[in-house]
Amino acid sequence: MTRRKFVCKLIETWPVVAVGASALARRASAQKARLRKFVRAARMNQYPGPIKPLHDICRQGKWSG
């Protein structure tokens, strides 16, 4: 195979190599995340939205679930 043909072959197969490498990287990252200990989020000091008493607690909620 000439150098020119080899380069052409490489260019042709580039998308396949890229997809493979990206899949391997994704899998490795997921694996790493699984092994890492989950860290809880800390509490905020203040709620950023409006605060009002909740009503009709003893009545069935209007939301689904």
Binding site: F38, V39, A41, G49, I51, I57, Q60, S64, G65
Partner: protein, 325 residues
């Protein structure tokens, strides 16, 4: 400094001041913080059948709560006003309810269990976890109503305090999860399998949406997967869709479609297949898988009669899977 939230498979990376996709977990000066801890936007005493749970303390009341936010963005969300809200919008007020207050209210309203529901308890994970731990210590049971889109580690830690869960299995294709919910299927299947393996009472809900996931072969695949991975005794709820949020162009699910889904579920070997969100005589009752006799008769969310004796069929004595007391 950037932080990464490792709670759900989205694994959001946030710049300082940025929130994750759920809008309630935020990077504050390089520290991941939960905005909604202790601030529910909704608390109600519901019948447990509304979750829906048909095999867990039937006829009991359950103190149900939610904060704003969700890690999914389902185009058909029935609770989108709170699930897709941002606390800073100022549209949805909240009140301070620390875990201790939830336990006291459960007692006050005679609720033997607490439900983390309406939006998704995964996004208010720390609040759910601390409340569930405290509730368990106080003899109150914990119920999750969730899409199950969560990473394995936090899920396993939370399951330690969970007694029952109704987990959505929205469809059996990655395409549906991606296009309709901005999520993926595999983590949900893992969450279901893990919950079952940890001894949590699991019921599955599938919202049947016309043209999107209502074909008999799609229903069959879902029922088959449920039976193979969660067991024939796992209750499966086929729930009716109503046009809302970003999916107002589709019609509501017909009773006939839901009845067909139920028949398919039972033909695939599932023992308890229910119809929800629509009136159905047989589809809401529990029948003995052995002798086919009526065990629990329901109308809407009300129990008309419960003939179970110590969790068994009074006719043939067959044990019925569930938590009955």
């Amino acid at each position: 400094m950037k932080v990464q939230c490792e709670l759900c498979p989205k694994m959001c990376v946030m710049q300082p001041g940025q929130s994750g996709e759920c809008r309630v977990r935020i990077n504050v000066d390089g520290v991941l913080r939960t905005v909604v801890y202790g601030y529910p936007c909704s608390i109600h005493v519901d019948p447990i059948e509304k979750k829906p749970l048909n095999h867990f303390l039937p006829g009991s009341a359950i103190l149900s709560l939610a904060t704003v936010g969700c890690n999914l963005h389902c185009k058909n969300c029935q609770n989108w006003e709170i699930s897709q809200a941002n606390p800073e919008d100022g549209t949805i007020p909240a009140e301070f309810w620390p875990p201790e207050r939830l336990i006291a209210a459960s007692r006050q309203y005679h609720c033997p269990s607490l439900a983390y529901t309406y939006t998704d308890p995964i996004v208010y994970y720390e609040y759910t976890y601390d409340s569930a731990k405290l509730a368990k210590e106080a003899g109150i049971r914990n119920v999750l109503v969730t899409a199950g889109y969560v990473n394995e580690q936090p899920w396993t830690q939370l399951l330690e305090y969970v007694d029952a869960a109704n987990i959505d299995l929205k469809a059996m294709t990655e395409e549906f999860y991606r296009e309709v919910c901005s999520a993926t299927l595999k983590p949900v299947q893992n969450a279901l399998i893990l919950a079952k393996a940890r001894g949590v009472h699991v019921e599955v809900t599938n919202l049947v949406i016309p043209t999107l996931n209502d074909k008999p072969e799609q229903i069959r695949e879902l029922a088959r997967w449920t039976r193979a991975n969660l067991g024939a005794e796992t209750p499966l709820h086929f729930s009716g869709f109503y046009p809302c949020y970003q999916m107002r162009n589709l019609p509501p699910t017909s009773l006939a479609t839901l009845e067909t889904a139920r028949q398919i579920g039972m033909s695939e070997g599932l023992n308890y297949v229910y119809i929800g969100n629509i009136a159905s005589k047989e589809g809401q009752n529990t029948y003995c898988p052995g002798c086919k006799k009526l065990l629990i008769e329901r109308s809407g969310h009300a129990i008309l009669q419960n003939r179970l004796k110590e969790g068994r069929c009074p006719e043939c004595g067959r044990e019925i899977q569930g938590v009955w007391k």
